[in-house]
Symmetry: C2
Subunit: 249 residues, 2 copies
DNA sequence: CGAGGGTTTGAAGTGCATCAAATAGTGTGG
DNA sequence: CCACACTATTTGATGCACTTCAAACCCTCG
């Protein structure tokens, strides 16, 4: 449904920039300057955008596809920080990290995005009070998510975490029976949730048996959100919906 | 050694405010306004300062003692967010959380702190570009810590996490043999690290056996930091020292 | 069709939690 | 200074959840 936006029309590109919450407070000069340097790009699956520690000169606004943000430990295992898609911005926090990316980024589903200059954003944040405030709000939102993530990982079991993840894919205002499509590989969902693929498989089966959700391949059908909230949300300090999106406003 | 600061001298109180990194960029009017409303207070162990969700009108700058920040899940278990002490500020992020505290706070070791008005800080952040930037930096630092915390909890085992915690108590520039004192109850350390007291006890014994550190009650003796880094830091994406403090600059 | 992956299932192992009980430590009043 | 009460800590035994290794299955795409 969004495929038609992936044209190389400069107007659509600019529209995507202007409509993002983070730039709402940008001055016209800043927006113009961003738009002038913005490049719309497409990337193949498997492509590495940057590595943890690289000097950062760009940040990214996603239009489609999926990108995995991850870190690697000294002894080689990978920790997935997040898997992001349309509407998300990533790489921008390098501004506060000595100008280096705080994670690596790899395309996991063919993606299109707008590549933007860090320097321009940095200057505007330093000079535009309102933008700094929007950035603060955005950081606070992220912080809340991270706090919840820690909670989830220590208090929810694997099945509950999957239920919680499925809930985050639901439009909270949609009523009645609905279908949820897993946005990417089950392997990737597993890594996003910090568990092994085998554990994911078994935990999903358990969730199905205990809540009555129906699973067909990568599609999940539920009759109502409460099927999942009753099962998952007891082990969480916040009520459903516990995820607030970084979406446009 | 810091006991002598716990007087009720207004000058020392003001000095504590002025020397904190977060207020470095405050305007003289702002500092004066803060100082006018600031109250130095002492609290007994066990006292609850505020609860998660309470309307926030104050934030806190700690001078001594320990405070546990935690959240409670719907079905009753407690998740410790952090345990903070001297030099730390908490409660200030309620500014970005609908004016409500995002966690509960309880005194776990007799504490003295300076109680400050949220509203004053909020106004200054909204009007003083530099303060907003300092706040952004502070949020970014916290974000880094949270990211690491998630990593630690999923990639390190209990003994490694304890090792990592001990390392965070070391003055990174100190050389040779040194003594580390656990800052509070082992039970609290356990909850801070997200494990059960029994697990903590066993994991600490295992750490002792495998690294050669010596444990006497709440004192830990090590010959050099590498004893611990070799053991703990392989499962982490950042090199020692991975903790940067929120200290004065 | 067949190769290669993602996914599921099975069997066994590991780590942490839990329950229970013993022990050490701390502060109290006598 | 001692005995007591109470709590923190350690130790033991057991169970559960997740991981790991291995193999089967399935699905897709050349």
């Amino acid at each position: 449904m969004r495929k038609n936006r992936v044209t190389h029309s400069a107007q659509l590109k600019d529209e995507d920039i202007r409509s993002h919450a983070l730039f709402r407070a940008g001055t016209p000069e800043f927006i113009a300057s961003l738009e002038a340097c913005a490049r719309a790009k497409s990337y193949e699956k498997g492509r590495t955008l940057f590595l943890h520690g690289d000097a950062a000169d760009s940040f990214y606004l996603m239009r489609s596809g999926w990108v995995k943000l991850y870190r690697e430990t000294v002894d080689g295992t990978q920790a997935v920080v997040d898997i992001v898609t349309q509407g998300h911005i990533f790489g921008e926090t390098s501004i506060f990290e000595d100008g280096r990316y705080p994670y690596s980024a790899e395309i996991v589903e063919p993606a299109t995005m707008i590549v933007l200059p860090i320097e321009t954003l940095k200057n505007e944040i330093e000079n535009n009070r309102k933008l700094a405030l929007d950035m603060l709000r955005s950081m606070a939102r992220y912080r809340r998510q991270q706090d919840l993530e820690i909670e989830h990982r220590s208090l929810q079991n694997a099945s509950q975490r999957i239920g919680c993840f499925l809930l985050s894919l639901i439009d909270q205002y949609e009523q009645g029976a609905l279908q949820i499509h897993l946005p990417y590989d089950k392997m990737l969902v597993a890594s996003r949730l910090g568990m092994q693929p085998e554990t994911f498989s078994r935990a999903l089966a358990k969730l199905r048996d205990q809540t009555g959700i129906r699973i067909k391949g990568s599609t999940v059908e539920i009759d109502s959100a409460s099927q999942l909230t009753d099962y998952s949300c007891g082990a969480c300090s916040s009520e459903f919906p516990c995820k607030d999106s970084e979406a446009k406003e």
